[in-house]
């Protein structure tokens, strides 16, 4: 009844809208907290600009459709896809494209049921939980299993596609996974490709970036490297990259966890007198050098154990 009643503003101040929406804080946070990822940050900045302009256009009555916001994040493990998705949810909430801005992370297990009639309610339950926020589907290509034609994944895909189309105002879907397998997934499910507007690729981290990440991770837990340990870490990163199951930042986190374990052990067995705070929070070269990585990596019979640990 109020079709043409609201008076539209004649001009829009983009800079004011930008400052007001709080997008700047999110982008700055992204710049500060995420190391490297240049192209990803660039794409996110572009997307934010597009959405801001789109919002302004709607205020002026130039556009009315909600833009398609579904995205796909492709990249190797440990390149920050989930972390960026969290930031993206925050960004979309600040821009007013999702109401709550929470992130629901799921994998195939959370969507696909085990018997006939189990999948649809399960998928819908997850979708309902994600409404008003962002649904992050990790390793999305597992949904589609061409080798088994009776696989229930197909059913989950159909419901997903339907909701992605009909409830565009209510939730944003982000699919994530390795680049090559995602490509194959999109090829066999053209419906997804056309419904996803933003494809963002996550590059691998370089060695200096990983070292910086290690510093930050330690800093967050109030630990530091001594200079020799830092050099050992640098060497560790270069070696670890050449070995199997390398997962970028996640490998670094695991390495640091193990180094902390060794440090605790060392302090326990060697310390004779009272320890200072500096003793308790410094990782030394010995804590890193004992790693298997320096001895040519994982032995064949240890591969399985390492996988279980990851």
């Amino acid at each position: 009844m109020t079709e043409d009643a609201p008076t539209r503003p004649a001009t829009v101040d983009l800079a004011a809208a930008y400052a007001e929406s709080g997008v700047r804080e999110v982008l700055e946070e992204l710049d500060r907290e995420m190391i490297g990822l240049g192209p990803v940050k660039q794409r996110i900045r572009e997307t934010a600009a597009l959405l801001l302009v789109d919002k302004a256009r709607r205020e002026l009555g130039l556009a009315s459709e909600t833009p398609t916001l579904h995205m796909s994040f492709t990249g190797n493990p440990g390149t920050g896809k989930t972390t960026v998705a969290l930031k993206m949810a925050e960004l979309l909430r600040k821009l007013g494209y999702v109401r709550k801005g929470h992130l629901v992370t799921v994998t195939r297990d959370d969507l696909v049921g085990q018997y006939i009639g189990h999948t649809a309610p399960k998928t819908k339950e997850v979708l309902k939980k994600a409404m008003g926020g962002v649904l992050f589907i990790d390793e999305a290509y597992y949904l589609y299993r061409p080798e088994n034609e009776r696989d229930y994944g197909q059913e989950a895909i159909e419901i997903l596609l339907q909701v992605m189309e009909n409830n565009r105002d209510d939730l944003v879907v982000i699919l994530a996974g390795y680049a090559d397998r995602m490509d194959r997934f999109f090829e066999s499910n053209p419906g997804f490709r056309s419904r996803i507007a933003h494809h963002i690729e996550f590059p691998d981290y370089s060695d200096p970036e990983l070292l910086k990440i290690a510093d930050i991770m330690l800093g967050q837990q109030n630990y530091t490297f001594d200079p020799a340990a830092r050099a050992a870490m640098e060497e560790y990163i270069a070696l670890r990259r050449g070995q199997p199951h390398f997962a970028n930042a996640r490998s670094i986190r695991n390495a640091l966890d193990r180094a902390r374990l060794r440090q605790a052990n060392r302090l326990f067995s060697e310390a004779k007198g009272p320890l200072t705070a500096a003793d308790l929070s410094t990782l030394t070269e010995a804590d890193l050098r004992t790693s298997r990585v320096f001895r040519g990596g994982l032995d064949v019979d240890r591969v399985r154990r390492a996988q279980a640990a990851e």
Partner: protein, 139 residues
């Protein structure tokens, strides 16, 4: 006769947006929202059929509107209501209840008089709709 039970029943029918806002209010208060339907509108019929589980962990009311619309597809000719359950100690009860869907024609209720001992008359009401067997009410 327009059925007036629960909240907002003297207002015009709620739009989806109205439903969303009301349900969001309940969710923000921490109440579990659920959708129920029935074809027996007697005011003492407290237990309506549940449409799915109560939504305990949905932060956004779009899910409620979605379920209401799913329920309408199957039970569009019946009464559908949204209720909000407060589980906090001391309440453990329904805090909100409003009708979001009603049949096209609502025949209303009749008064039934039962003569008891002496000149006692007991009054009760009965919906005209429930004269038909279940499943055939409201066409």
């Amino acid at each position: 006769m327009r059925l007036t039970q629960g909240q907002f029943s003297y207002l015009p029918d709620l739009t989806d947006e109205d439903i969303r806002v009301q349900a969001q209010y309940a969710i923000d208060k921490g109440w579990a929202v659920s959708v129920e339907f029935t074809d027996d509108p007697h005011p003492r019929n407290t237990y309506w059929e549940m449409w799915g589980h109560p939504m305990f962990d949905n932060p956004d009311a779009a899910a409620v509107v979605y379920e209401v619309n799913e329920c309408r597809k199957l039970h569009g000719g019946k009464y559908i209501r949204v209720i909000a359950f407060d589980a906090s100690p001391g309440w453990e009860s329904i805090r909100m209840s409003f009708i979001v869907n009603r049949p096209k024609t609502e025949p209303g209720f009749r008064v039934v008089r039962q003569e008891g001992e002496g000149r006692v008359v007991r009054y009760t009401i009965e919906s005209y709709a429930v004269r038909e067997p279940e499943g055939q009410r409201y066409a």
